[in-house]
Amino acid sequence: MPVEALALELRGITKRFGPVVANDRVDFDLKHGEVHALLGENGAGKSTLMSILYGLYRPDEGEITIEGVPVEMDSPATAIDLGIGMVHQHFMLVQVMTVTENIVLGSEPRRGALLDVREGARRVAELSDQYGLAVDPNAVIEDVTVGTQQRVEILRALYRDARILVLDEPTAVLTAQEADELFQVLRALRDDGVAIVFISHKLGEVLEIADRVTVLRRGVKIDTVPTAGATEQSLARLMVGRDVLLRVEKAEARAREAELEVEDLQVRDDRGLEAVRGVSLNVRAGEIVAVAGVDGNGQQELVEAISGLRHPDSGRIAVGGREVAGRGVRTTCDAGVAHIAEDRQLRGLVLDFTLAENLALREYRSPPLSRGGWLNINRMTARARSLLAEFDVRGGDAGTLASSLSGGNQQKVCIAREIAANPRLLLAHQPTRGLDVGAIEFVHRRLVAERDKGRGILLVSLELDEVRSLADRILVMYEGAIVGEFPSDASEEELGVAMTGGAGQTAA
C-alpha cells in the first residue's frame, strides 16, 4: 500500500463538561474514499466528537490533523475552509428561499455587486448531476421533501469544496426509500474520493453503507472494526457492552374482546386536507396491532383522533364499547386510552417539570395525587419513586427535571406514566424513536408484557423491523386508508409494496 496521508486524524481527543467526560482520549481516523461510521448509544459522545471536529467545541486535550497537517479548529468557518462539510440532523435552511439561494448563501457568486443567480444555479445543477442528487435548483425549500432538503445540505457542503463530509444521524428523518437513495449518493461521493463520517446508532444501515466502524461507549473508543465480517449482533455487543436481544421473544397472542373499534373514520390535518380517509380497524385485548406505513400517510392524524387530541370529521371511535370520537383527551383517557406520544419532548413531557410532576400528568386531578383541587406532593413523590424504580429510570429521582434525563430514560418516564394509568388500550406511536438498542429492547419487552397482561396495544411505527417483531397483526396505511392486513410473518417486500400503494391485497 502506498503511504497516503489520511484525510483526517483525531488523536487523543478529550473533552470535559464540568465533571462529565464526554470524550476520553478518543482516536479516530478517516481515509480518502471511505465511509467511516461512528456508532454509539445516545450519550456515547458521537456528537461531541464531531462538534470538536467542526470547531464548535475546543478539545481539552488531543490534536486534529487534516491531510497530515496539524490544525487548530477554532470555528466552523475554519472547518469549512479546511474542506469539512457538516450535515446536521436539523437542517439549517431558509424555508422561503430556493435551493440555489440556500446553497450559495454565504459564498454567493457575484457579477459586479449583484448576485449571479444563473451562475449559482448552473453550478448547483452540475454538482447535483455529478453525484445523482436529482435536486431542482429553483425549487423553494418549503415545497420539497425532507429527503431533498437533506440533499440540499449535502450540496451546500460540496459547493464549498468539502472533501470530508460529516453526516449526523442522516437517516433519522428519512423514509426507507429515501435512505436507500441517500446511500446511493454517498457511494457515488465515496467513489469520487470524498471521505465520509456517518454517525448513527442503527446497526443495519451502518453495516450496509460503512467500510469501517468506530464504536464509542460512554465517551471512550471501544474499537474500530471493518464492517466486512461484522454482524448486527457483534456491533450491538460492542456498543452496549453486553449481548442484546435484537428480536423480541413473545408467545402467541391470546386476543379476547375488542377494546378499540374504529369505524369509517375521517380526519383532516392542520391544513384542512383529508388525512385519514375512512379507516376502520379494531384492537382486541391481549394483542398488538401495528399500523405500518411511510411517514405522512395519515398515521399522525389517526393517532391524534384516537387519543382525543384531534376532532374527526366523521366516524366512530369506541373504547371498551364507549363512544369517544371528538370528546377530547380527558374523556378518551377516562375511557381507558393511554398514549405514548411520538415526540416525548414536544408533547409527552414538560421538560422543565420534575419527574414527579411529569408522572402526574394523567392523574393529577384525581385522588390520591390530589384532593379537592389541592395536590398531594408527598403522594406524587412516593408514586414517582415507585414508578421510577419499576421502570428502571436512571439519572434522576422524583425531584429531577425531565430535561436532564437522556432520551431513553425520558421515554421510560412517558411509558411508565401511560402504563400506570392502567389503560384498556395503549396507543404507542413510534415508541422507540431516537432510542438506542438497549432502550429499544426495554420498550419492546415492556409492550409485549403489557399485551400479555391483557391490554390492547395499537402500535404505529415507521420502522418495519419493529412492526414485524412486535405485531400480532399488521395493518398497512397508505394515503389515509388501510390498504391491507398482514400476519406478523409477512415479508418486508410484501409490506413494502403495500406501503407504497401497490396491490391492496388482504392476506390471512
Partner: protein, 423 residues
C-alpha cells in the same frame, strides 16, 4: 407566513429528535437544561447582580450629570426609612425614619400585587402588560363602592369595595385572556390597549361633568371621598399623617395565596404546564384556552386588589390626575422580572422599587445633593435598566459564567442555543 398553530406540523420532522440527540454527548444534559438549572441554582445571585448593575449604570448617569452618586444613593437610602431597622438609629432620626418607612411600605403594598399580576401570567407563558389598566379598573370600582352605600357597617363596606375591585380587575384582564383563547389575539397588544381604555374611562368618569365626579366641587376632576368606615385601619403611625394601613398584610396574604395556588393546587399545576409546554398540557387533557382566561382573570384580580388597597388605605379618592401619573401597574412588570416570577422574589422586588420611589420622592431629597427633577426620574431610569437587563439576562448569565471560568473560552455556541430556552 401563517400563524404556526400546531407545533407538530411546523417543526421539522426530526426537530425534537435532533434537539435531544445533539447534547447527548455531554452526559445526557441538554444545554437548555443546564441553563435552566443554573438559573434556578443562581436564583438569588442573578437578580441581585441585575439590580446591582442597574444601580451602577444609574450611578454613572449621575456622575455624568455632575452629581455625586454616593451622596445621592445615601440620601435615597435615608429617604426610604430603612435605617429604622438599625437599632443604633435613635431619637429624632428614628421618628423620621419611621415616617419614611411607612411611606415606603405603603408604596410596596400595591407593587407586590401588581408584581404578582405580571408574575402569574409569566408562569403561564403570558405577558401581562395590562397591570396598569387592571389597577385602574380596581381603583375605580373601589372608589365607587367606597363612596356609595353610605351607612353600611365598615367591615362590610371594605369587603364589598375589595370584592368589587378584584372583580373589575379580573374582568379587565379576563377580556384579554378571552381574546387570546378564542381568536388568538396577542395578549401583549390587547392588554396595552386595555390600559388606555381603562385610563380614558377613568378620565371620563371623574372628569368635569363626568358621572362619578364629586358632588361638591364642580371644578375639581375628582371622585367623592370614600366613607370613613370604608378606610383600612392604620396599624403603624398616625392615621392623619398617612400611617401604614393593614393593606400590607392583605398583600402578603396574596403572596401566600399566589404560592399555594401555583405550587400546591391542580390549577397551578395546569398553569405551569401550559406555561412550560402547551402541547404537553393539551396532551395531558388540559384546555389551554380555558387556562389562558383563568390565568388572566387571576392576574387582574391581584392588580385590582392593588387598586382597592391604595384607595381604601391612603388615597380615599381618585382624581383624574392620579390615574394619569400612577406608575404602579407598569412597575409591576419590573418587579416580576426582577423577582423571577416567584412569590418571595416579587416581595423583594416590590420592596426595592417601593423604597426607590419613596426614597427619591422630592419630599426627602436635599436639592443641593440632587435636583428634584432628576430625582424622580431616577426610579424610571433604574426601572428601565432592570427591564432591559432582565431581558438581556442571557448576557448577564454568560458574564457571570465567564467570570467563574465555567465556560472556558468557548461560550458562543452554547450561549446562542441558550436563548431558545423558554422564559
Amino acid at each position: 407566513m401563517t400563524q404556526p398553530k400546531d407545533p407538530v406540523e411546523t417543526a421539522p420532522a426530526g426537530g425534537a429528535l435532533a434537539g435531544e440527540e445533539y447534547p447527548a454527548g455531554q452526559g445526557g444534559l441538554t444545554p437548555a437544561a443546564r441553563l435552566a438549572a443554573y438559573v434556578r441554582g443562581g436564583g438569588i445571585v442573578v437578580p441581585l447582580l441585575t439590580a446591582l448593575l442597574a444601580f451602577l449604570i444609574a450611578g454613572l448617569v449621575m456622575l455624568l450629570t455632575g452629581n455625586d452618586p454616593f451622596a445621592t444613593y445615601r440620601a435615597i437610602f435615608e429617604g426610604t426609612g430603612l435605617q429604622w431597622l438599625f437599632p443604633w438609629v435613635t431619637g429624632e432620626d428614628r421618628a423620621t425614619a419611621a415616617l419614611n418607612l411607612q411611606q415606603t411600605l405603603i408604596i410596596t403594598t400595591p407593587l407586590i400585587l401588581t408584581g404578582l399580576a405580571v408574575a402569574f401570567a409569566f408562569r403561564a407563558g403570558l405577558f401581562n402588560i395590562g397591570g396598569q389598566g387592571q389597577y385602574i379598573a380596581g381603583s375605580i370600582a373601589a372608589v365607587w363602592v367606597g363612596s356609595s352605600f353610605a351607612g353600611i357597617p365598615g367591615l362590610l363596606h371594605i369587603v364589598l369595595a375589595i370584592v368589587a375591585a378584584c372583580a373589575a380587575g379580573a374582568f379587565w384582564a379576563g377580556v384579554a385572556g378571552l381574546l387570546k383563547a378564542t381568536v388568538g389575539a396577542n395578549e401583549v397588544i390587547s392588554t396595552i390597549m386595555l390600559n388606555y381604555t381603562a385610563l380614558y374611562i377613568g378620565l371620563w368618569l371623574f372628569g368635569l361633568g363626568g358621572p362619578l365626579q364629586n358632588d361638591r366641587e364642580a371644578t375639581l376632576p375628582v371622585s367623592n371621598d370614600i366613607a370613613e368606615g370604608a378606610r383600612l385601619p392604620v396599624f403603624w403611625g398616625d392615621p392623619v399623617l398617612q400611617g401604614l394601613h393593614i393593606g400590607l398584610f392583605i398583600a402578603l396574604a396574596a403572596v401566600v395565596v399566589f404560592w399555594l395556588l401555583l405550587n400546591r393546587s391542580t390549577t397551578g399545576y395546569e398553569v405551569r404546564a401550559v406555561g412550560l409546554n402547551p402541547e404537553a398540557a393539551r396532551y395531558g387533557g388540559m384546555s389551554v384556552g380555558r387556562n389562558y382566561v383563568l390565568v388572566m382573570a387571576v392576574c387582574g384580580l391581584f392588580a385590582g386588589l392593588a387598586g382597592a388597597l391604595d384607595i381604601l388605605g391612603w388615597q380615599f379618592r381618585l382624581a383624574t390626575n392620579d390615574i394619569q401619573i400612577t406608575q404602579i401597574g407598569f412597575l409591576g412588570i419590573a418587579v416580576a422580572l426582577l423577582g423571577r416570577s416567584t412569590a418571595s422574589g416579587t416581595v423583594a422586588g416590590a420592596l426595592l422599587f417601593g423604597a426607590l420611589l419613596s426614597g427619591t420622592s422630592q419630599r426627602n431629597l436635599d436639592p443641593t445633593i440632587f435636583e428634584p427633577e432628576l430625582a424622580s426620574n431616577l426610579t424610571l431610569i433604574i426601572q428601565g435598566l432592570v427591564v432591559l437587563l432582565v431581558s438581556a439576562e442571557v448576557l448577564v448569565l454568560s458574564l457571570l459564567r465567564r467570570g467563574r471560568g465555567l465556560l472556558g473560552g468557548r461560550g458562543r455556541a452554547r450561549a446562542t442555543r441558550a436563548e431558545e430556552t423558554p422564559p
